[in-house]
C-alpha cells in the first residue's frame, strides 16, 4: 500500500509541475500572438511616460536594463528563456507601469495581503455557514423551512454576484451611508490607533465580503442539502437510529460528517480561485487588492503586472488542487484503495 501511495504522490507532483509550467508558457506565447505586440507597445508607452517624477536619463536606463535582462531585442524563444530565468531564479517580472520604476512583483506583493485576507475569510465563512444551513434544511427536508430556504437558494444562486455588488453599493454606501466605499481603511486613521484601525478595516471589507459570499453561499446550501438527503437514505443511519442515539448526535456525528467530505474538496477548489475570483468585486468596491490591481493594469496595458497576476492565479489554483489530491488519500480510505 505504501508503494502505491508513493507512486501516486510522485505522479501527482509531476503533473502539477507540468500544468503550472504549461499554463505559464501558454500565457507567455499567447500574448506574443495577440495583435499589437504587448512588449513593443509596452516599451513605447514607457518611453513616452518618462518624466513626471523621473529624469529622462533614469527612464532610459531602466528601459535599457529591462531590455537586456529579458532579451527583448532577441527572438521570442530567447525571450521566453530569459523570462523563465528571471521569474524562477530572481522572482523578477520587470518594471511595472502603474508605479513606474517599481518592479511589478513588489506592486503585487503590496496588494496580496488584502486580497488573501478578504477572500479567504469570505470563502471560509460562506462555506461554514452555507454547509451548516444546507445540512439543516436537508435534515428537515420537506418542511416549510426547507422549502422556503431552498427556493430562496435556487433564486439567489442565479443572480450574478456583480449585479448584487452594484445594488449593495447603491443601497448601503450611497443611500443609507452605512458603509464607506473605496480603499481598505479610511485615510484618516493610522495603525497606531489600533481599535479605530481595525474597525475601519472591517467596515471597508464588509460589503465586498458579503458580495463574494453571496457568489458561493447558495451553491454550498444547495449541494450540502442534496448530500445530506443522500446520507439520510443510508442503512447505517437507520441502524444508528434504531440504537436509540440522540437526534443531535445523529445529526452531528452521522449525517453532517459524512455529507461534508465532498464539500471539503469543494472548499479546497474554491480556495484556489481566491486570486482570480475577486477581480470584479474588488474593482467595483475599489478595494486595494490583486483584483483592482489587475483591472487597473488592464486599463493601462501594464504587461508585466498582468503576467504576474496571471501567474499568481494559475499557481494558486493548481497548488490548491494539488493539496486536495495529496490530502485526500489520508482523509478518505476509498481513494487509498485498501
Amino acid at each position: 500500500m505504501n508503494r502505491r501511495i508513493y507512486i501516486y504522490l510522485v505522479k501527482r507532483l509531476i503533473s502539477y509541475i507540468v500544468v503550472v509550467f504549461a499554463a505559464i508558457s501558454i500565457a507567455f506565447f499567447l500574448f506574443r500572438l495577440v495583435p499589437g505586440d504587448p512588449i513593443k507597445s509596452y516599451l513605447y508607452q514607457m518611453q513616452t511616460l518618462q518624466g513626471f517624477h523621473l529624469e529622462e536619463q533614469t527612464t532610459q536606463q531602466i528601459i535599457q536594463y529591462y531590455i537586456e535582462k529579458f532579451s527583448l531585442n532577441r527572438d521570442p524563444f530567447t525571450q521566453y528563456i530569459s523570462f523563465l530565468r528571471e521569474l524562477i531564479l530572481h522572482h523578477n517580472l520587470g518594471p511595472s507601469f502603474l508605479a513606474f520604476p517599481k518592479p511589478a512583483q513588489e506592486l503585487i506583493m503590496e496588494k496580496l495581503p488584502w486580497t488573501i485576507g478578504l477572500l479567504s475569510i469570505s470563502t471560509l465563512m460562506s462555506w461554514i455557514i452555507g454547509n451548516f444551513l444546507g445540512a439543516l434544511i436537508g435534515w428537515k427536508r420537506d418542511t416549510k423551512i426547507d422549502r422556503t430556504i431552498f427556493i430562496l437558494a435556487l433564486g439567489f444562486s442565479q443572480i450574478p454576484f456583480y449585479i448584487l455588488g452594484v445594488v449593495f453599493i447603491l443601497v448601503f454606501c450611497l443611500m443609507l451611508r452605512i458603509f464607506p466605499l473605496g480603499g481598505a481603511f479610511s485615510p484618516n486613521v493610522s495603525p497606531e490607533q489600533i481599535w479605530n484601525y481595525i474597525i475601519s478595516i472591517i467596515s471597508h471589507a464588509t460589503l465586498p465580503s458579503i458580495t463574494l459570499m453571496f457568489a458561493s453561499f447558495w451553491g454550498w446550501v444547495i449541494s450540502m442539502r442534496s448530500l445530506t438527503i443522500n446520507v439520510l437514505g443510508e442503512d447505517y443511519l437507520l441502524f444508528a437510529e434504531a440504537k436509540g442515539l440522540k437526534k443531535i448526535r445523529l445529526f452531528t456525528r452521522y449525517v453532517f460528517r459524512n455529507a461534508l467530505l465532498p464539500q471539503v474538496t469543494g472548499l479546497g477548489l474554491s480556495m484556489g480561485f481566491i486570486m482570480s475570483g475577486s477581480v470584479i468585486v474588488e474593482t467595483l468596491f475599489m478595494y486595494p487588492g490583486i483584483g483592482t490591481l489587475f483591472s487597473m493594469a488592464l486599463g493601462r496595458l501594464d504587461y508585466n503586472v498582468l503576467m504576474g497576476c496571471i501567474i499568481l492565479m494559475v499557481f494558486s489554483v493548481a497548488t490548491s488542487v494539488l493539496i486536495i489530491d495529496l490530502l485526500l488519500p489520508f482523509v478518505d480510505p476509498r481513494v487509498r484503495g485498501d
Binding site: 431552498f150 427556493i151 450574478p160 449585479i163 442539502r225 438527503i229 486570486m275 482570480s276 477581480v279 489554483v317
Partner: protein, 293 residues
C-alpha cells in the same frame, strides 16, 4: 425508439412552467432589443445611431426627445440601452452556438473514437477547467483593440467550451454502450450514420441544456469583462453601459438609469436560468427526485 421520441416530443410540447416563462421573457427581451429598438431609432432619432456621441448636449435631463436623458458623452441613454441589450443577447447567442458546436464535436470525437483522441481531448479539457480562464480572456480582450461581435463571441467560446464538452463526452460514453448502437453497427451503418441517426437524436436534450448553459456563461463572462472596463467602446453591451454610467456617477445623480440597466441584466439572467432549470427538470427527472422540488 420512435415511441420514446414521441413521448419526448410530448413532454417538450407541454413544456414545463419554468421553461415557458423563461422563453417568454427571453423572446420579449429579444423583441424589445431588435424590433422596438429599430422603430425607436427610426421614429424618435430619425435613423441616427443612438450611441453616437454628441447626439445632443451632455447630461441632459429626461425630455420627450430623450426619455432617459443623455449620458456623459452626449449619447441617447434609452436608445443606447436597447442597442446594448441587443448586442449582449446576440453575443450570447452566437457564442453559445459556437461553444455548443465545438463542445459537441469534441465530446463526440473523444467518446466515440476513444484512444489517442480521447486522451488528448480529455487532458486538454481538464487543463482548461483548472486554468483560471477568465483573467486570460480579460487580458486578450484588453489587447485586441479592434474586435466585432463575431470576434468577441469566438474568444468567449474558446474559454468556455470545456464544461459542455465534458458533459457531452460522458453522455456519449454511456449511450454508445446501448444495444441499439451495437445493432446499428452490426447492420452495417457507418460511423457518421450512427453518430447522426442514433446518437445525436438521443443526445439532443443534453445538447440543448448545454446550449442554454453556454449562452448564460458567455453573457456572464462578457458582462463581467465590460464591468471592469475591458473591451471595445464601439460595441456597447449592457456591462459596458453599466460601467460607463457608474463612472458618470449615475448611481447618485440618476438612480433610475442605473436601476434600469441592472434590471435588464437581471432579467436576461433570470430568463436564461428559468430555461436552464426547466430543461434540467424535463430531461433529468432524477434531479427532481433528489432535490424534491
Amino acid at each position: 425508439m420512435l415511441a420514446s421520441l414521441k413521448s419526448k416530443i410530448k413532454r417538450i410540447k407541454r413544456l414545463n412552467f419554468k421553461v415557458r416563462i423563461g422563453l417568454i421573457m427571453f423572446l420579449s427581451l429579444l423583441v424589445i432589443a431588435t424590433i422596438f429598438s429599430y422603430i425607436d431609432t427610426q421614429i424618435r432619432l430619425k435613423g441616427v445611431d443612438p450611441t453616437t456621441p454628441w447626439i445632443a448636449e451632455r447630461f441632459l435631463p429626461p425630455s420627450p426627445q430623450h426619455p432617459l436623458g443623455t449620458s456623459q458623452n452626449g449619447a441617447d441613454v434609452l436608445g443606447s440601452m436597447l442597442v446594448a441589450l441587443r448586442n449582449t443577447l446576440i453575443i450570447g447567442i452566437i457564442s453559445g452556438t459556437i461553444t455548443t458546436v465545438i463542445a459537441t464535436f469534441l465530446g463526440f470525437l473523444s467518446a466515440y473514437k476513444g484512444g489517442v483522441y480521447d486522451y488528448i481531448i480529455r487532458n486538454v479539457t481538464d487543463f482548461m477547467l483548472v486554468v483560471p480562464s477568465w483573467p486570460i480572456l480579460a487580458v486578450m480582450a484588453a489587447y485586441i483593440r479592434k474586435i466585432d461581435v463575431i470576434g468577441i463571441s469566438l474568444i468567449l467560446s474558446i474559454f468556455n467550451w470545456s464544461w459542455a464538452a465534458r458533459t457531452i463526452r460522458s453522455q456519449v460514453l454511456s449511450l454508445k454502450e446501448k444495444p441499439y448502437v451495437d445493432l446499428a453497427r452490426v447492420s452495417g451503418l457507418g460511423d457518421m450514420e450512427i453518430v447522426f441517426k442514433e446518437l445525436m437524436v438521443n443526445l439532443l436534450p443534453y445538447i440543448v441544456v448545454s446550449y442554454a448553459n453556454s449562452i448564460t456563461n458567455a453573457i456572464l463572462a462578457e458582462t463581467g469583462l465590460r464591468l471592469i472596463g475591458v473591451g471595445p467602446a464601439e460595441l456597447p453591451t449592457l456591462g459596458f453601459l453599466l460601467q460607463m454610467y457608474l463612472v458618470a456617477g449615475f448611481l447618485t445623480t440618476r438612480v433610475y438609469v442605473a436601476a434600469l440597466i441592472v434590471a435588464l441584466i437581471a432579467m436576461t439572467f433570470l430568463s436564461l436560468n428559468f430555461i436552464n432549470m426547466g430543461l434540467e427538470e424535463i430531461y433529468n427527472p432524477r434531479l427532481k427526485k433528489i432535490t424534491g422540488m
